[in-house]
Each structure stands twice: as structure tokens, then as C-alpha cells.
């Protein structure tokens, strides 16, 4: 059973530390997106990476449309991995939608987690005045449209085109092949589960200390959302980054690592 989970979620463990740091990727990609950040913690932590079922190199055969219709199914994946490796005092790092997945997992089994680091999280993407999520329903439809159109072409262009990596030769062929090549139907359901979710009610229930990394100009998770989360989430810390965009761990890995270390330092010292 445990072995099944490790294969199912393509779990990768590295690092020389004992305390686990579990990275949960966001919608649209897979564990490879942590490539610029995760190695920085291998000296001090047991680094655990995984792919959600339906993403990356997970077992697509284990995909269950019912289970993954909501973010609870994805939180279950996180807990399955935690249990399979019997991880404790976990620092759970979640990007984008995985911010809320981390909240759900931590609320379900708070004793397993010591810290949450939420990068660009949002409890609800669609505006619900006075709540500001940043999007209207029609905007989400626009994204789904864009995904549909690109998946038509991606099947053709991904495989041969990305074998060559002129500026990143260190990337293995194996990795690039899997990157972002999620199944279109699964990706669409993940998009709907993500962008049509409303997890505001779960936020005040968080009992695990959390760091919220808010980019300074993130159209996916606007500044108002970061402030809302910080206000509603007990024991949370908000850091507004100089980094812009929605993927600071990819666009600004150094600043991301810096802020994570600064937040975790007291814990390391203890």
C-alpha cells in the first residue's frame, strides 16, 4: 500500500537532513518546478517531492474523477505521501493552489505538520464582493478555453521539440518530457477544482504556523488576497516579495529561498 502510494505519486526523496520538507506543486506543472528552490534545503532537510495523481509522472491509471473533483482529493494525496513515509514535524511548502491544499491537509492532521509555507495562495479566485479574488467567472472560462486550444497542439509539439534544451543542458531528457504534459481532461478538471474553489471557511481553522509569500505584482493572487489570508489565518506570517508574477520560486528563486530560510531559522535553531 505504502509502496503503491510512492509509485502512484512519483515520490522522490533527497537531502541529508532528518526533518522533512514536503513540496507540493501547483496547477499546470509538476514537481520539477521546485528545481530552483528545493536543492537549497537538501543540506538541512529530508526533501520530499511528488506529483499529484494526473500530473507529471504520476500513475494516470490511479486517477479518479470523483476524488479529484475538489481540492480535498489533492489534500488526500499529500496525506497519503506523509503517511506512506511516516513523515512528522513536516514543513509543507505549497505553491499556488497547493497553498489551499496544504491548509486542508494541515487541518485534517495538524499533528503531522510543523510549518506551512504558502507561495502565492488564494482561498478563492473568483470575486465575491466585498471579497476580492481577482477574477470573474468569465476570466476562468478564458483560461479553460486557452488550455483547450493549446492541448490540441501540445500533443504534437511537446515530444520532439523539448528534447533539446539549449540554455539548460543539465535538464535530463526524462524530466523535460514529463514537464507540463498532463492529460488535457485531467488538467481541465484540476483547473476547475482550483479556480472555482472556495476555501475561505477552512482558513480560520488552521492551527499550524504558516508563512504566506505574496508576490508584489501577482495577477493570479493579488495583494488583497494575501492580506485577507494573513488576517483570517491564525498564527500566519505575511511576507510581500519583491518578485513579481505568480511563480517566484521559478522567476526569483534566490529571494524565495531567502525568505523561507529567514522564516524557518528559529525553528532550525530550536
Amino acid at each position: 500500500m505504502d509502496r503503491d502510494v510512492l509509485a502512484r505519486n512519483n515520490v522522490r526523496v533527497s537531502g541529508r537532513g532528518t526533518q522533512p520538507m514536503l513540496f507540493a506543486h501547483g496547477f499546470g506543472c509538476d514537481q520539477n518546478m521546485w528545481r530552483f528552490v528545493a536543492p537549497a534545503f537538501e543540506d538541512d532537510y529530508q526533501v520530499v517531492l511528488f506529483d499529484y495523481v494526473g500530473s507529471g509522472r504520476s500513475d494516470l491509471g490511479a486517477y479518479d474523477a470523483q476524488r479529484y473533483a475538489t481540492l480535498d482529493g489533492y489534500a488526500q494525496d499529500v496525506l497519503d505521501v506523509v503517511r506512506a513515509l511516516d513523515l512528522r514535524e513536516v514543513t509543507l511548502v505549497g505553491h499556488s493552489v497547493s497553498g489551499m491544499v496544504a491548509v486542508l491537509a494541515a487541518n485534517a492532521e495538524p499533528e503531522r505538520f510543523e510549518r506551512l509555507i504558502l507561495i502565492g495562495p488564494s482561498p478563492r479566485y473568483v470575486n465575491d464582493p466585498p471579497y476580492v479574488g481577482g477574477f470573474e467567472r468569465a476570466d476562468i472560462e478564458g483560461l479553460l478555453e486557452m488550455m483547450d486550444r493549446n492541448y490540441i497542439g501540445w500533443a504534437q509539439f511537446l515530444a520532439p521539440a523539448i528534447i533539446k534544451n539549449p540554455d539548460r543542458p543539465e535538464l535530463g531528457e526524462e524530466l523535460t518530457e514529463s514537464f507540463c504534459s498532463t492529460d488535457p481532461v485531467v488538467a481541465r478538471r484540476f483547473a476547475e477544482a482550483t479556480f472555482l474553489s472556495d476555501n475561505r471557511a477552512d482558513v480560520p481553522k488552521v492551527r499550524v504556523p504558516a508563512l504566506i509569500l505574496q508576490c508584489s505584482d501577482d495577477m493570479v493572487a493579488p495583494a488583497e488576497v494575501g492580506e485577507y489570508l494573513h488576517r483570517e489565518m491564525p498564527g500566519s506570517t505575511l511576507r510581500v516579495m519583491q518578485a513579481t508574477g505568480h511563480c517566484p520560486h521559478m522567476s526569483h528563486p534566490d529571494e524565495t529561498i531567502e525568505l523561507m530560510r529567514a522564516y524557518l531559522q528559529p525553528a532550525l535553531a530550536a
Partner: protein, 443 residues
């Protein structure tokens, strides 16, 4: 916007302003560092107006989300991307569908994301049709999946029924085998019955043959017996006439006894002969129209001496015109026999009478009843009085005269003429013998 400020710092070769596709370069933080005039025109901006803006500014909201979740991570990881569909945002807010090729390159110590945009309005239309077709297919598939359950249930039901039918068929086959076995058994039984029937037929033929042989023997024997009896009767008469000398009273008494014995024996033999003749089918019936009243006129004188001897009252009732189709002599023989019995079994002072009538239930028949007020016949013995060689109630009659064949012969004769003979009797009150004969059709 701040086009004026950015324009002087343009790093783009002016030659690209004349290219038929849009060029754009942006930094990792999203800031647009260069754009050609073609792109600016495509989006309704003045040349140089795009530099300094964020990449988000030239994307529709949906495209921004896609850029953040897919496009940027892809380019960041792979260093390039080809033919990505995006909808750019024009100055007036409208969407401009494009295909984007992107490559990352390091220039002047910083990463630049160089993009080429080609308008794909026509392609977008085709893709839309393709997508709509695919969505329709998807919807159809969902519908099929929904029906699949119904089909599965229906299929299970059918399979169940098929199993049941198969079982039923097996049962039928087993029953067929059983029926065949039973049919075989019945055929065997039938064969045996046929064989037995044939055997019985042979036995019956043999019995008939034996019976005929017996009757023939009896007829011959009776004839052979009658010849010496006639001789006895003749010599008794000669002795009585005194031809061989005077006859004493004692001798006359002995001769009388010899004559009576001879007469009795002759009647016995005649009865046996008659019965044998009838049974061997050698009796011929001369059927004619017989007037019953006339017939009784002939019969009555023949029994009057006996009636008188026992002082019996006698009456005959025959409706005028009553007639039967029969053999006159045979009917006479039957009536004499019946009257003889009636007289024999009726004590002195009793009554004997004859009635003739049409059968009320069957007008084609005439009933001739010979009744008496005699001793009657017990019910348990009534069935056997017509059997040959049976005499009823010998204890009451003492040593009976006659052969005991009279009733058997009478019934055989009646039946031989298409009639019958039956009996009703009550012990102590008397008997009624009913002779049934075909009536003469009314003219």
C-alpha cells in the same frame, strides 16, 4: 503611455519593424523590454508604446492565467516554447488570437524571453470548430457513459435470462430424453399388448373352435341317444298293446314307469340338442309377422291340462293388433317353456297370467310378460337362472323335472331373433319373465 520615454532606449533592430509578425522581448519579472511596430499596430498601439509595460498588459485575463500557470513555467523550464496559442489584449480591450514562439536568451547579464507572435484568426476559427467537435464528442461520450449503466443492467438482465433459458432448455432436453425413454417403454408395453392381443385372438379362435367341436359332438351324441330311446318307446307301446301276450297290472305299472322315464330322457336329450344347435350357430330362424293373440290361442290349450291339475287361475291380456316379427315356432317354444316353469313353481290355487304390451321406452319393441304368484327366486340367484344346467331352488321344488336348459335355450332363441329375455322376481310373491321381441312397424 510612457512610449516617449521607452522609445529612445529601444534595443530592437528597426528592420524588424517591417516583419509581418510581432516581435516582443520581456524580462523574467515580466517587464517588456522590446516590441516591434508590427506588434504595436497589431494591438492598436503606437510604435514604441509597449516597452516598459508588463507582459500582463498585452494578455487577456484568461491568457494571463494561462501564462502564469503554463506558459511561463514551460519557457522557464525548457528555455523555449513553440506554437503556444494565446489571446493578446489590444489597446481597445479586444482579443487578438496569436501563435507564440518563445526562446530564452541571456543578454547583457540578464535573461530575455524573446517572443514571435503570428496572427491566427483563421486558424482560431478552425480550432474552434475542432474544439466544438471535440466537446460534442465529449458530451456524447458522457451521454454514452450514462447510458452504459442502463445498457449494463439491461445486458445483465438479458444474460440472466439467457442463463435461465439455457437452464430451461437443458431441462427440456432432459425431459425430452425422459419422454423418449417413456415412449420407448410405452412402445415396448404396446408391442407386448399387441403380442398378447394376438395371443388372445388365437386363444379365442381356439376356444371358439373347441366350442363348435363340443356343440357338434353334443348334437351328434344326442341324435345317437335318441335312436335307442325311440326303440324303447316303440317296444313299450307294443307290450302295452298285448302283442306279446296278456299284460298283468303289475307289468302295466312297470311299463308305464319305463315309458315316463323314456319320455323324460328324450326331453333331456332334445334340450341338449337344441342348446348345442343354437350355440353352434346351426339354428335357422324363419322370421315372419306373428299375431300375439293368435299365438296365445295356440299355446293356451297346450298348458291347460297342467293348469287344471294344480287348480291355477290363468289369464291372457293382449291388446288387439299386437304383433311381432319373429319365428313363430321359436316364440311358441319359449312361451311354453316359460308357462311350464310358472306352473311348476306356483303352488296349487295360485295364479299364472300373460300380458302383452308395447315397450313404453322403445315403441319398436313388444314386451310379453309371463307372470306367476309362485315361490319366486332369491335375488342372488336371479343372475344365474339363464346359465345352462342351472336349476333354481331345488330344495323348494324337490327333485326337479327337466334338464335346467330351458331358460338358457329360451334366452338364446330370443336373442337370436333380435330380442331378449329378462327376469324380475320376489321370493314368496312370484316371478315375471319378460320376453322382448321386435314389434311389427305400424302401418
Amino acid at each position: 503611455m510612457n512610449a516617449g520615454a521607452a522609445a529612445p532606449g529601444r534595443s530592437l533592430d528597426p528592420l524588424l519593424d517591417h516583419a509581418p509578425c510581432g516581435f516582443l522581448s520581456f524580462a523574467d519579472d515580466g517587464t517588456i523590454t522590446a516590441a516591434n511596430a508590427t506588434l504595436a499596430a497589431m494591438l492598436g498601439h503606437a510604435p514604441g508604446e509597449l516597452e516598459g509595460l508588463r507582459i500582463d498588459a498585452v494578455l487577456t485575463v484568461g491568457a494571463r492565467l494561462f501564462y502564469q500557470t503554463h506558459f511561463f513555467p514551460l519557457v522557464r523550464m525548457h528555455g523555449h516554447a513553440e506554437e503556444v496559442f494565446l489571446v493578446l489584449r489590444a489597446a481597445d480591450g479586444g482579443g487578438v488570437p496569436v501563435l507564440a514562439n518563445v526562446a530564452r536568451a541571456e543578454r547583457g547579464g540578464a535573461w530575455a524571453n524573446d517572443c514571435v507572435f503570428m496572427r491566427v484568426t483563421e486558424r482560431a476559427k478552425f480550432e474552434e470548430q475542432l474544439l466544438n467537435a471535440r466537446r460534442a464528442a465529449e458530451a456524447a461520450r458522457h451521454e454514452v457513459e450514462e447510458h452504459a449503466e442502463e445498457l449494463r443492467v439491461a445486458n445483465e438482465t438479458l444474460e440472466q435470462q439467457a442463463v435461465e433459458l439455457e437452464m430451461a432448455q437443458q431441462q427440456l432436453e432432459e425431459q425430452a430424453v425422459e419422454l423418449q425413454a417413456q415412449a420407448d417403454t410405452l412402445q415396448a408395453v404396446n408391442d407386448e399388448l399387441v403380442a398378447r392381443g394376438e395371443e388372445l385372438e388365437r386363444q379365442r379362435a381356439a376356444a371358439d373352435e373347441a366350442n363348435r367341436a363340443k356343440s357338434g359332438f353334443l348334437a351328434v351324441m344326442s341324435h345317437e341317444l335318441r335312436t335307442p330311446l325311440n326303440a324303447i318307446a316303440g317296444y313299450v307301446q307294443l307290450l302295452e298293446m298285448g302283442i306279446h301276450g296278456p299284460v298283468t297290472d303289475a307289468q302295466r305299472g312297470a311299463l308305464d314307469r319305463i315309458a315316463r322315464s323314456q319320455n323324460h330322457l328324450l326331453r333331456l336329450i332334445n334340450d341338449v340338442l337344441n342348446l348345442a344347435r343354437i350355440e353352434s350357430g346351426r339354428v335357422e330362424f324363419l322370421v315372419e309377422e306373428v299375431d300375439v293373440a293368435g299365438l296365445m290361442g295356440e299355446v293356451t290349450p297346450m298348458v291347460e291340462p297342467q293348469l287344471g291339475a294344480k287348480a291355477l287361475a290363468f289369464a291372457v291380456t293382449v291388446p288387439p293388433g299386437t304383433a311381432v316379427r319373429a319365428d313363430r315356432e321359436k316364440v311358441q317354444q319359449i312361451l311354453i317353456n316359460l308357462l311350464g316353469n310358472a306352473i311348476k313353481f306356483t303352488p296349487p290355487g295360485g295364479r299364472v297370467w300373460v300380458e302383452a304390451a308395447r315397450d313404453g321406452r322403445d315403441p319398436s319393441r313388444v314386451l310379453l310378460r309371463v307372470a306367476d304368484s309362485g315361490i319366486g327366486i332369491a335375488p342372488e340367484k336371479q343372475g344365474s337362472v339363464f346359465e345352462p344346467f342351472v336349476q333354481v331352488d331345488m330344495s323348494r321344488t324337490g327333485r326337479s323335472e327337466g334338464s335346467g336348459l330351458g331358460l338358457a335355450i329360451s334366452r338364446d332363441l330370443a336373442r337370436g331373433m333380435g330380442g331378449d329375455l329378462s327376469l324380475e322376481s320376489e321370493p314368496g310373491k312370484g316371478s315375471v319373465f319378460t320376453l322382448t321381441l321386435p314389434a311389427v312397424a305400424d302401418g
